[in-house]
C-alpha cells in the first residue's frame, strides 16, 4: 500500500518536473510574439509609457494611442481600404476607440464583423 502511494507520488513529481522544465526552457510564449504589446516592446516602448508609473497599472485610453498615432494621418493611411475606411467611419468618424479592435495583450478583433462582413485583417 505504502509503496504504491510512494510510486504515484514519484510519478506526479516527475510529471510536474518535466512540465516545468519544458516551459522554462522556452524563451517566451511564442503565441504572444505576434501580439501588439510585443511589437510595441520591440520598438522600444516601455510599459510605463502607456500604462503610467502607478503601482496599479491603469487601462490605456485611446487618447494615449493618439499621442503617437495621429488620428488624421492614420485615417489617411487607410483611406483606400475595401469596402470602407475603418478609421473614418459613419459611427465614430476618425475618433473611434482603438481598444475596441486593437488589443495589446490578447489577439485583436474585427468588431465591424459583429454586424457587417468586411473581412478586415486587424493587426
Amino acid at each position: 500500500m505504502k509503496t504504491k502511494f510512494f510510486a504515484i507520488l514519484m510519478l506526479l513529481c516527475v510529471a510536474l518536473g518535466t512540465g516545468f522544465a519544458t516551459t522554462a526552457a522556452k524563451p517566451a510564449d511564442p503565441s504572444k510574439a505576434d501580439l501588439l504589446a510585443a511589437k510595441h516592446s520591440a520598438a522600444g516602448i516601455t510599459c510605463a509609457q502607456c500604462h503610467g508609473n502607478a503601482a496599479k497599472k491603469q487601462p490605456v485610453p485611446a487618447s494615449t494611442c493618439a499621442t503617437c498615432h495621429d488620428r488624421k494621418t492614420l485615417a489617411e493611411s487607410t483611406a483606400k481600404m475595401n469596402p470602407y475606411n475603418p478609421h473614418d467611419n459613419r459611427h465614430f468618424g476618425i475618433e473611434g476607440d482603438c481598444n475596441e479592435c486593437h488589443h495589446q495583450h490578447k489577439k485583436s478583433q474585427n468588431r465591424c464583423d459583429e454586424c457587417h462582413k468586411f473581412n478586415f485583417v486587424v493587426p
Binding site: R90, H91, K117
Partner: protein, 558 residues
C-alpha cells in the same frame, strides 16, 4: 401630498409603486433595518440603518433569477471642486445629440434660450429613416382618437395615453418643423406624406393624413439628418460640445438639478450649469448587458444595432431621484436590410437555422423575435419562395419586389447597390433548394423535408401545422428558389424614466424634479408592450422629434 397623489393617473401611480427608484430602495431598506432591530440601538441608528440600506439595495436589485444586480446604477463618485477645469453657464443644457436632443436644443434656442448640447460621440448621432406625425389640418378628430386607441392597444394598454395624445396632436407641427430646419442645414430630407401609411389609414374609416420625414435613402439616415439639423442649430446659437460624455448631474441640497459635469476629450471634468433646466436625451441602454439582463432579459442572445448606448442617462436620472419603469421593458427588433422592407411581413414560408417551420407566418416581423430568443437562432430566420412569387403574393400585405429589384439585396450579385447598406444585405437565389440552403446558412436536409411537408399542406389547402389562412399557402416548387435571411437585432429599447406631460422627471413621490427633463427613448410612458409596434412606421422618431420640440420650447420659456 396624499391629495396630490390621488390625482395622479393610474399609469403614473403604477410606475411609482413598481418602478425602480432611490425612494423604493430606501423604503424597502428601512423595513429591513427595522425588522433586524437595528434602529433600536440609540446613537447607532443612522449608520446601522445605512449599512442595512446598502445591503438591502443590493438584494432589491436582484432579478428573480438572481442574475442581475444593481451595479449598473453606480453611485456617482464625488468630484472635488479642484478637479473641475472649467464651468460654463447656459439657460438650457441638452445631454445627447440624437433624434430627440438636437430638435430640443434648436427649439429652445428659437425660443430665445442660450443652449449647450453635450455629446458623447464626435458628432450628432442617431439612426433610422422615417419619422411620422399626423397632419391635423387634414385629419378628422375621430381618426386621430382611433389611432391613439390603436397605439394604446399595440402597447397592451400599458402606456400613458396622455403622452400618446400629446404626440398625436403635436407631431404634424413638430415633424414639419424638423423637415424645414433640417433642409436649412443642407439635408435632402423629404416629406413622404401618406406613402408609408396605407394600412394604418384604413384602420378606422375616419380621415387621417400624415407628415412623414424621410431622412434617406440609405446610407443617408437620421444620423446624417441630425448632423444637418445641428448646422441649423449652430446658426441659431446652440453650442455643441462633442466628445464630451456627461457623467453626473449637479444637484442642490433641495434636489433641484442645476447642471451637469462632463468629461472633455482630454479626460478633464467640465461643468455646465443650466439656469432653466437640463434636458436628458441620451437614448437607450442596449449596450449595457447587466441592465438589459435586469429590465429586458428577453434580449440576452440578440445582436445590437447601436453602439455605446450604455444607459448613462438612466444612471444620472436615477441618482437625481427619478423612477425607472418597472421590469418588462419594451424592445424593438427588426431587419430591414437583409431584404426589402416591404416584404418583411409577407407570409412566405419561414424557417429557422435548423430549417424548420416555426410559426404561422402571418406573425409580423416586429414580434418574430419572440420565437428566436435562444442562443442558436438568436434572431436568425429565412423567408423562402419560388420563381412564381410575384403572382402568388398578389393581394398579400406589403409589396413584393420583382426579381430585378431583389438583386439590390443580394451580396453575391456584383455591381453597385442603391439605397441599402451592402454589407447587411442577405437575399439569395439558387437553382436548387440545397444550394439555397447553403447560401442562407440553413440546414439543407431539414429544409428539403420542410418544403416537402409545406407543399403537401398547400395541396391540401389547409395549414394543419400552423393554421395559416389558405390564401397564403403557395407551393415552393419552381426554380429559381429565393430566400431572404433576416437577422433581427435590437434596434432600440424604448422604456425609460417616469415623466409628466412637460417631460419633467418625477421623483419617487410623484413630484416633479426641478430642472430635470427627459426625452427620447430615455423617457418613459410611451410604450409598454412586449415589442415596439410597427403599426405606424416612424412612430419612434416622430415621437422623439415631437417631444424634443415641445420640451425644448417649454424649458426655454420657464
Amino acid at each position: 401630498m396624499e391629495n396630490e397623489k390621488k390625482e395622479l393617473d393610474q399609469y403614473t401611480r403604477n410606475v411609482l409603486e413598481q418602478g425602480v427608484s432611490r425612494r423604493n430602495f430606501l423604503r424597502n431598506s428601512a423595513f429591513g433595518a427595522v425588522g433586524a432591530g437595528l434602529l433600536s440601538v440609540p446613537g447607532m441608528a443612522s449608520t446601522a440603518a445605512k449599512a442595512g440600506a446598502d445591503k438591502k439595495e443590493e438584494a432589491f436589485g436582484k432579478s428573480s433569477d438572481g442574475a442581475a444586480t444593481l451595479p449598473f446604477l453606480p453611485r456617482p463618485k464625488p468630484i472635488a471642486e479642484k478637479e473641475i477645469t472649467a464651468t460654463h453657464t447656459f439657460d438650457v443644457v441638452v445631454i445627447g445629440a440624437g433624434a430627440a436632443g438636437v430638435p430640443a436644443a434648436l427649439a429652445a434656442a428659437e425660443s430665445g434660450a442660450r443652449v449647450a448640447v453635450i455629446q458623447k460621440a464626435p458628432f450628432a448621432l442617431s439612426q433610422g429613416n422615417t419619422g411620422s406625425g399626423i397632419d391635423l389640418a387634414h385629419s378628422e378628430k375621430a381618426g386621430v382618437e382611433a389611432l391613439v386607441a390603436k397605439i394604446c392597444e399595440d402597447s397592451s394598454h400599458r402606456c400613458n395615453p396622455a403622452l400618446i395624445r400629446q404626440w398625436a396632436y403635436n407631431s404634424g407641427e413638430a415633424v414639419s418643423w424638423v423637415i424645414d430646419r433640417a433642409k436649412q442645414g443642407g439635408s435632402p430630407v423629404i416629406d413622404q406624406g401618406n406613402q408609408q401609411h396605407g394600412d394604418v389609414m384604413e384602420l378606422s374609416g375616419y380621415k387621417l393624413n400624415w407628415v412623414t420625414s424621410f431622412f434617406g435613402p440609405k446610407p443617408y439616415t437620421t444620423g446624417d439628418g441630425m448632423r444637418h439639423l445641428a448646422i441649423t442649430a449652430e446658426k441659431a446659437g446652440v453650442q455643441f460640445f462633442y466628445n464630451t460624455p456627461a457623467e453626473q448631474l449637479v444637484q442642490s441640497k433641495s434636489g433641484e438639478v442645476q447642471g451637469v459635469i462632463a468629461k472633455d476629450r482630454d479626460g478633464k471634468f467640465v461643468r455646465f450649469l443650466a439656469k432653466k433646466g437640463v434636458i436628458l436625451a441620451t437614448g437607450d441602454y442596449q449596450n449595457n448587458k447587466p441592465m438589459c439582463d435586469y429590465f429586458v432579459p428577453d434580449v440576452k442572445n440578440f445582436g445590437r444595432k447601436q453602439m455605446g448606448k450604455t444607459g448613462d442617462g438612466f444612471v444620472m436620472a436615477y441618482w437625481a431621484g427619478g423612477v425607472i419603469e418597472p421590469i418588462g421593458h419594451t424592445k424593438m427588433l427588426h431587419d430591414f436590410d437583409g431584404g426589402p422592407a416591404p416584404m418583411c411581413d409577407m407570409p412566405f414560408l419561414s424557417v429557422t437555422r435548423d430549417g424548420k417551420r416555426f410559426v404561422n407566418e402571418t406573425v409580423a416581423m416586429s414580434v418574430t423575435n419572440n420565437y428566436l430568443r435562444d442562443a442558436k437562432n438568436a434572431g436568425h430566420y429565412a423567408q423562402i419562395f419560388d420563381a412564381d412569387y410575384m403572382t402568388q403574393a398578389q393581394g398579400w400585405p406589403g409589396k413584393a419586389i420583382p426579381p430585378e429589384g431583389l438583386k439590390n439585396y443580394m451580396p453575391d450579385v456584383e455591381g453597385p447597390k442603391k439605397g441599402v447598406f451592402p454589407s447587411l444585405t442577405n437575399t439569395h437565389v439558387a437553382n436548387t433548394l440545397e444550394e439555397l440552403a447553403g447560401k442562407l446558412e440553413v440546414d439543407p436536409v431539414q429544409l428539403a423535408a420542410t418544403v416537402k411537408r409545406y407543399n403537401e399542406l398547400v395541396a391540401l389547402g389547409k395549414d394543419d401545422d400552423f393554421g395559416k389562412p389558405a390564401k397564403y399557402l403557395k407551393p415552393v416548387v419552381k426554380a429559381p428558389f429565393y430566400g431572404i435571411h433576416r437577422t433581427v437585432r435590437v434596434s432600440a429599447i424604448c422604456s425609460g424614466m417616469l415623466v409628466n406631460e412637460n417631460h419633467q422627471a418625477l421623483d419617487g413621490e410623484g413630484k416633479a424634479i426641478r430642472g430635470l427633463y427627459v426625452i427620447g427613448n430615455l423617457g418613459g410612458g410611451f410604450y409598454g408592450g412586449v415589442d415596439y409596434p410597427l403599426t405606424v412606421y416612424g412612430l419612434s422618431l416622430g415621437r422623439c422629434y415631437t417631444f424634443g420640440y415641445l420640451a425644448g420650447r417649454h424649458v426655454a420659456k420657464l
